[in-house]
Symmetry: C2
Subunit: 327 residues, 2 copies
Amino acid sequence: MNYKDKYSELVRIVENRIIEVIPNIKPFELYEPFRYIMKEGGKRLRPVLAMICTGAVGQDPILALDSAVALEILHNFTLVHDDIMDNSSMRRGRATIHEKWDSATAILTGDVMIGYAYNLLPNSKQSSRSDEILKIFTKELIEVCEGQVLDMTFNERKNVTIDDYIEMIDKKTARLIETSAIIGAHIGEASSEEIEAIRNISRNIGLAFQIQDDLLDMTSTESNFGKPIGNDIIEGKKTFLVINAQKKVDDKNDKLLIEKFINQNGLSKDEVPIIDELFKRNNIYLDAQKEIDLYFEKALINLEFLKKNDYTDMLLQLIQSLNKRLI
Amino acid sequence: MNYKDKYSELVRIVENRIIEVIPNIKPFELYEPFRYIMKEGGKRLRPVLAMICTGAVGQDPILALDSAVALEILHNFTLVHDDIMDNSSMRRGRATIHEKWDSATAILTGDVMIGYAYNLLPNSKQSSRSDEILKIFTKELIEVCEGQVLDMTFNERKNVTIDDYIEMIDKKTARLIETSAIIGAHIGEASSEEIEAIRNISRNIGLAFQIQDDLLDMTSTESNFGKPIGNDIIEGKKTFLVINAQKKVDDKNDKLLIEKFINQNGLSKDEVPIIDELFKRNNIYLDAQKEIDLYFEKALINLEFLKKNDYTDMLLQLIQSLNKRLI
């Protein structure tokens, strides 16, 4: 099997397990939206990464399946609650839960999802690392909330530095990718050296992935990205692109446009092509791509610390394919 | 020490631990509301009950302290999220979190609280029952969400039976009291017979407690109850009182008033004294009190299955004092 087929095979296993673990019981008001959000899941990066990392330290990836699904549920829980807070009406090309049902349903669906995620983590009979895995998973739940608060406070702050930004995306997005990899490694009973290598690999994948998300918001197409292009600009999100542009632009009109974005908490849909032109002229997309390449490179360097097998190969190909994502 | 002093001593221990476990760190936007909701906690029934149950099966109650605080955090998490969904602006005589801050803050505060609760549960080194405790705690998180959904769907249903009502309050409220007692018992390494006795005791306390809450909504005073009197009637909640009245009243005008309550999803503040008179005339308060007495009696009968010690005594006195609560 080539890389793509192997990846798809893991996705299929994860998605079959997802269908199994969401009960088809009352109250349907809760389990129908839970099933809805979990159904169209895009790449399933987090659970697949967890399973690959179990394989990368020499164990059967299937051992990590339930924890992988727990991580995917945790990820989707954050989407459900974030979408309420961000007032987002679309996600992966479909109506968000609070839009299709209502906010109360979305709050409760998110809450119950946390319970289902915990239920899938290994107990002490299933894994000798169950205590560590539980602790890491809970730390992640806490940090993802902290990251979302940071993200929201960015809206009110005029000056957000690149360091602030990295702290925020680290907690809000990158860390869950790191946590997925580390939980997979623990299920594979990884040594502390292997855990360290996998931490460095996945942390850099996570950071690259988020900056790439910021970039794709402007450079992708709506059908590929599942969201309208320029959405972050319209919503006033202080992304890597905006923060870098704020620091970099010299031209008076450019400065005025960025200031307008900051002061009005976003621009209109009509102004998206204008800021796109500004970004292009100031090499903002190129800078972002360089940063993404740098993080992926760091991930690759750390891959050298793992003993080669089919799954370290898969990890290598995963990094390479993520770096080419849609651009 | 008499019962009241012993109870207060446990409350003091729980509240000191609560202060310790909520971090005084950034982002304050998250930890300030967390501290705020946990600060004024009323009776601390759930954590104190957990600790008493550890004592009632012959172990030191202090062993259950962290789990007790986890249960109190879980309880408060449900209040924070329920208050958003119910649009409640007051809780324990103070503004609710979504009112004092905003909905996004309240959603995230609730979410992060779940993480802090899980962090306080014992790991496999701290308790031989850690797997069971984790499973019971997670089941509780799931059921409390299901209970809240049932409660919300009651608003749209014209006919809710007493059985529907009992199912709803069992999941939404009573079960957390039961879960607290059982987790305390597991920490005390209770036998399966002791667990069964404590389940029956606490389940009946929980049901009595919720029906009492419905009753106090009409018969208490605002300063004792921390909420305006008749709040459930104004909000259109289908409480034990309303469901019983709906089944029981014969008089044409009485029927019309209940129908108005059902069809308009509640009555105005001015109509609260009118329905109060209806409840009195039809012995609705007396019926509720009888039901409460019955559940407390069942709790007392099951107490006989435990070997007597200081903490089974305390459990007896707790049941007696709850039965006299404010009426």
